[in-house]
C-alpha cells in the first residue's frame, strides 16, 4: 500500500516535471515581450543561485554566507577574462564557475573545521573582502562604476543581441535545467547521503567513516561551481558587472528564496526564485512602490515561515498527505457507522479486549 502510494507520487512528480519542462520550452513562443523574457532569464539565474545554495546551506548544513560572493566571483572572473584577455565568452562562463569553486576552496580551509555562528562570520567576512578587492582594483574592474561593454556569447549565424532575448532565454533555461539535474543527482548520490549525515550528527558521521573536512569542501566547491557559471552568464547577458552583486540586499533576496522555497529540496528554492523575481519586479513597476516591495517580500517570508517553517517545498507533501488522510477517514467513517449498529454487549466485549491489549 505504501509502495503503491509512493509509486503514484513519483509518477505524478515525473508528469509534473515533464509538463514544466515543455512549458519552459514553449514560454518564448507565447511571451514575445522582451522585458518579460528578461524577467524569465533573471529568474532562471536566481533559480540556479538559490538551488545551488541549498546544496551547501540546506543539505550540508554549512551556514555559508559567501554563496552570493561566489556568484560575484563568477561575474567578475567571466567579465574580466572575456573583456581583458579576449577569451571566448562561452569559455569565460566556464572560467567563472571554476573561479567560484576556487574561491569556495579557499573559504573551505577555515570553514570546514568551524561551527555555527563562526562559519557565518568567516563567510560573511570573505564576501566583504572580495567586494573590497573588486572596488579597489578599479583600473581592472571599474570599481564602484562597474565594468561595461563585456563581450557576449555568439553562435555561428546567430546574433544574440537581435532576437528579443530568445537565444539568451534558451541558454538560461538550459543552464537551469542542467544545474537542477546535476544538483538532484548529487543530493541523491552517496555523497549527498554523507553530507546529510554530517549535518544530522557530526560525531556520529565521523564514527562511521565519513571524512568531515573533505565532504564539506566538496559541498562548497560544487555549490559554488553552479553559482559561478550563473554569474558568468549573468555578466555575459547584461554585459555589465557592478559590485552591487555583493550587496547585502542581494544576499537577503536570494536567502529569502532559499528559505521561502524550503531547504533540502533543490526544487523549493528554484521555484521560489521564479515567483519572487516576478513578484518583486511586478511590484517595482507600480509607481512609488520601488522600496515597498522589499517590505512585501519580507512580509511574505515571515508569513510563509510562520505556517511552513520548512518552506513551501514542505507544504506540498503535507497537503497530499492530508488529502490522503481525509480520504482514508471518509472510508473509515463508513466503517464507524457499521460499528454503531453493534449490540451493546458486543461493545462491552470489545472494550474488555482493548483494556487487555493495553496491559499487554
Amino acid at each position: 500500500m505504501m509502495a503503491l502510494h509512493g509509486g503514484k507520487l513519483r509518477s505524478s512528480k515525473v508528469w509534473l516535471i515533464g509538463v514544466l519542462l515543455i512549458a519552459g520550452l514553449l514560454v518564448p513562443i507565447f511571451v514575445q515581450d522582451s522585458y518579460l523574457r528578461h524577467l524569465f532569464i533573471i529568474s532562471f539565474v536566481y533559480g540556479i543561485v538559490a538551488a545551488s545554495w541549498d546544496l551547501s546551506l540546506g543539505y550540508a548544513g554549512i551556514f555559508n554566507f559567501a554563496h552570493v560572493a561566489f556568484f560575484g566571483v563568477g561575474v567578475y572572473a567571466t567579465g574580466l577574462t572575456a573583456k581583458l584577455l579576449g577569451i571566448d565568452p562561452w569559455a569565460a562562463m566556464l572560467i567563472g564557475g571554476v573561479a567560484a569553486s576556487a574561491a569556495a576552496a579557499i573559504v573551505a580551509l577555515p570553514v570546514v573545521r568551524l561551527q555555527g555562528v563562526y562559519v557565518v562570520l568567516v563567510t560573511f567576512a570573505f564576501s566583504q573582502l572580495v567586494m573590497q578587492l573588486v572596488i579597489n582594483q578599479s583600473n581592472l574592474t571599474g570599481g564602484t562604476q562597474g565594468m561595461v561593454r563585456v563581450p557576449t556569447i555568439w553562435l555561428p549565424g546567430y546574433n544574440f543581441l537581435r532576437d528579443y532575448k530568445l537565444g539568451y532565454y534558451y541558454v538560461a533555461f538550459g543552464l537551469l535545467v542542467t544545474t537542477t539535474v546535476c544538483l538532484r543527482w548529487l543530493v541523491r548520490s552517496d555523497f549527498g547521503l554523507s553530507i546529510k549525515a554530517l549535518r544530522d550528527n557530526e560525531d556520529y558521521a565521523v564514527s562511521r567513516g565519513i571524512p568531515i573536512a573533505l565532504q564539506r569542501l566538496k559541498a562548497l566547491v560544487a555549490s559554488a561551481f553552479f553559482t559561478g557559471i550563473a554569474g558568468g552568464f549573468y555578466v555575459i547577458y547584461l554585459r555589465v558587472a557592478s559590485p552591487e552583486v555583493f550587496d547585502f540586499s542581494t544576499v537577503s533576496l536570494i536567502l529569502s528564496m532559499v528559505l521561502v522555497g524550503g531547504t533540502s529540496s533543490i526544487y523549493g528554492p528554484l521555484f521560489a526564485a521564479l515567483f519572487l523575481t516576478f513578484i518583486s519586479e511586478g511590484l517595482a513597476s507600480i509607481n512609488n512602490f520601488a522600496e515597498g516591495r522589499f517590505m512585501l517580500v519580507a512580509l511574505a517570508m515571515i508569513v510563509v515561515l510562520l505556517f511552513f517553517p520548512k518552506g513551501l517545498a514542505s507544504a506540498l507533501p503535507a497537503i497530499l498527505a492530508r488529502n490522503a488522510n481525509q480520504k482514508r477517514s471518509r472510508q473509515s467513517g463508513t466503517a464507524l457507522a457499521d460499528r454503531a449498529l453493534m449490540t451493546s454487549s458486543d461493545k462491552e466485549n470489545e472494550a474488555e479486549a482493548a483494556s487487555h491489549s493495553g496491559v499487554r
Binding site: A197, R199, D203, Y204, S207, R208, G209, I210, I212, S264
Partner: protein, 251 residues
C-alpha cells in the same frame, strides 16, 4: 565460537593519558584486547570509561600522551574517520543517529564510507546488519527520528556492524532498556562475536557485563584498578571499595 588468539593483541593501549587542564581523565592506562574476545570495562561514574572510547576513536579528541595500536599499527595520530575505517567502530552512550535519513540509509552510509563497499554490496550488508539486530523490516524505511529508543539502539549497532569492524566498542548499550531487551542485547553481542568481531563493552548493568565478558577491567579515577576474569575481578577488595566506598567494603 571463534577461539581467542592469545599471542596477538588486536587493540593495544600503551601508557595512554588524557588531560583536561588540571583534570587527569585517563592516567597512564595500558592494556590489550585479544583478537575475538569480549572485553568488559566497568567503573563508577566519571572513572574515565567513555573518555577511553573517545581517545581510542579520536571522537572527539585524541589522547594527550601514549600510543594506541590496532593489529600492531599505531592509530592514535590518524584522523578520526580513518580510525573508523581501520576497523574500530563505536556506539555512543547518548542516542546517535542520522535523524532525517531512513533506518536503512543510516546503515548503508556506514557500509559505504566505513566498510568501503560498492553500492550493491552496501545494500546487502545493510540488510544483513539490520537482520542481525532484528530491526523489523517494516520499520526500516522510517526516518531514524521516528524510531523508538530500543530501535535506535539496534540501529546504532547495525550501522557499526555494517562498517566491517575489527573491534566494536559498545558504550553502555543496556542503559534505559527493559530486562527482556537486555537479554536480547546479550544475544546480539554473542551474534556479533560469532562473526569474528572483537567486542569491547562498557556497561553498568552488571549481570549483562558478567554474562558476556571473557575478561574484565575496572577503572577508577582514570586508572586501572583491577583486571582479569570476571569472577576474580568482582572479588577484588579494591573493586568492592571503589563501588561501595571504604566503610561498606570493610563490613
Amino acid at each position: 565460537m571463534v577461539e581467542p588468539n592469545d599471542d596477538k593483541p588486536l587493540l593495544e593501549m600503551r601508557q595512554v593519558t588524557r588531560r583536561f587542564g588540571a583534570l587527569l581523565a585517563l592516567d597512564n592506562v595500558s592494556f590489550s584486547v585479544r583478537k575475538s574476545e569480549i572485553f568488559g570495562i566497568a567503573g563508577p561514574n566519571g572513572s574515565g570509561k567513555s573518555t577511553l572510547f573517545n581517545v581510542i576513536t579520536g571522537i572527539p579528541f585524541p589522547p594527550s600522551e601514549g600510543e594506541i595500536l590496532l593489529a600492531g599499527k599505531p592509530i592514535h595520530r590518524l584522523p578520526p574517520h580513518q580510525i573508523s575505517r581501520a576497523g574500530i567502530l563505536r556506539t555512543f552512550q547518548k542516542d546517535a543517529e542520522f535523524a532525517t535519513l531512513s533506518a536503512r540509509e543510516n546503515v548503508y552510509a556506514s557500509a559505504v564510507y566505513c566498510g568501503r563497499m560498492t553500492s550493491t554490496e552496501a545494500k546487502e550488508a545493510a540488510d544483513q546488519a539490520l537482520d542481525d539486530v532484528s530491526l523489523k523490516a517494516e520499520r526500516r524505511a522510517k526516518a531514524a527520528s521516528d524510531l523508538s529508543v530500543f530501535e535506535r539502539k539496534q540501529l546504532m549497532i547495525a550501522s557499526a556492524i555494517a562498517g566491517r569492524p575489527k573491534v566494536l566498542l559498545l558504550d553502555e548499550p543496556a542503559a534505559g532498556l527493559t530486562k527482556p531487551e537486555v537479554t536480547g542485547l546479550s544475544d546480539l553481542i554473542f551474534t556479533v562475536h560469532r562473526r569474528g568481531i572483537t567486542v569491547v563493552l562498557i556497561e553498568h548493568v552488571l549481570p549483562l557485563l558478567l554474562n558476556v565478558s571473557e575478561r574484565l577491567m575496572i577503572l577508577n579515577h582514570g586508572a586501572i584498578i583491577a583486571s582479569g576474569s570476571p569472577a576474580e575481578v568482582v572479588r577484588n577488595p579494591e573493586v568492592v571499595e571503589a563501588y561501595l566506598g571504604k566503610r561498606e567494603a570493610r563490613l
